[in-house]
Symmetry: C2
Subunit: 246 residues, 2 copies
Amino acid sequence: MAERTLPQKTAAPRQPFVLRLASLARLSEPELDLLSGLGGREAHRPGDELSVAGDPARRPRFIVSGWATNQHILSDGRRQVFSFALPGDGLGVYPRMTPPALYTSIAHTPMVTVDATPFLDAVRTAAMPGLVKAFTAVARLEDKMLLDQILRLGRQTAYERVAHFLLEIDDRLAAVGLSDRRRFPLPLTQEILADALGLSVVHVNRTLQQLRRDGLIEWRSGQASLLDRDLLMNVAEYHTPGRKPL
Amino acid sequence: MAERTLPQKTAAPRQPFVLRLASLARLSEPELDLLSGLGGREAHRPGDELSVAGDPARRPRFIVSGWATNQHILSDGRRQVFSFALPGDGLGVYPRMTPPALYTSIAHTPMVTVDATPFLDAVRTAAMPGLVKAFTAVARLEDKMLLDQILRLGRQTAYERVAHFLLEIDDRLAAVGLSDRRRFPLPLTQEILADALGLSVVHVNRTLQQLRRDGLIEWRSGQASLLDRDLLMNVAEYHTPGRKPL
DNA sequence: CGGGGGTTTGACGAACGTCAATCGGGGTGG
DNA sequence: CCACCCCGATTGACGTTCGTCAAACCCCCG
């Protein structure tokens, strides 16, 4: 585990949001430097509110580590998770950041974030074209994820939903170097998964067991494995981002 | 139908997209003129493809009249309608318009559209601040609608979904002068409504009957009425845009 | 006076939810 | 180091919502 301490320039593991943005647009040295230099590091504990629907937007942040949920709770307690915010994702960055936040964001695990204001400023002033391009690309992907979520909830079975969801998470984590395309961290409870996929905890549990019995996945102690990616993609009709749907 | 030909300046009914944008930002005379002057008028027939997922984006357009669906169809025929495009809405305007379209748009009724390119150019060059502000506001609203759709599909019952949906449509049509907040055109089949709300046609039918029996709505020959707005909003936990959720 | 698309109805079945109890494992305090 | 605890996972029994199939109905139109 101990990392080399040699005086290497770029071999040090990049922050996840740098990897994410760099994978979407060719970034110049000054652009990479701006990102790598982001500060205002903060830690958050599970349950911390990172933004509240209707409240004035807070300072935009990038996630260094940890998972958050973007969600809404109905008056009788039913909860819907719109999306997850993973390492490398922004909080209040891409969604139109005009004042009132569209949803509530809650830290689901311990998290570390940094201040993304310098990044947004650079995008606003169009000073750095690579960052602007990356910004646009990420915003598109976020929209795509919302549409995928609608498809899952509206027209897929529980089995398909779980498969589709796991494939999406795997892709997103791979983009920031947290998945080797086989195994990746999945620090979720079945309850949150249920609230994201529009199911009950019990049904999520049974669906997961079915997927395990079918030899498609494994999931123990926060680590998930996709044992048959092709079959999963087939089942879920999942198309990896970038490839045309048909 | 024949329009007055008197030399009136602003009394002629505004195009719906002018109303929509003007309701979201104070627009200057030049800005209003740019919008009113948009040309490239085109007619579309039901079933026409206005954009295809994965295809390079077409020329952005504003809808003058008619309804379209933004949708995706699974390989076995299941269809999910992500959202509807109504008069005043844009096609390929607000969603990040970078090349590949995120979804397929199909004309559901006869439609008339105009070319929105001059509008987008003005926004891109930031030449007209009112238009930029309106653009941002509409983009936000479109995101909000996707989130509402997720909430409906994930955590609401059929009854609540239909109520919520009708309230949203009413609000949107009212913004372009097509609803008097009681009665509005609803040129949909129950089948499309089913595909939008993640239900079967049969169940939509039964849900509508329940809503009728409860004295909440009417819907005959393409005209819908909300008979008890307050109760509907209560049932659906619908919050009119602009008001804080809690 | 036929058609044809959309709506409505009934009977039945499957997917998923609820309730409640049990299990399991990892963290913690003694 | 061990017993206890607690949260989350799991299981079973049962209920409900919603889907499917298929037929009838209705209306508008040619």
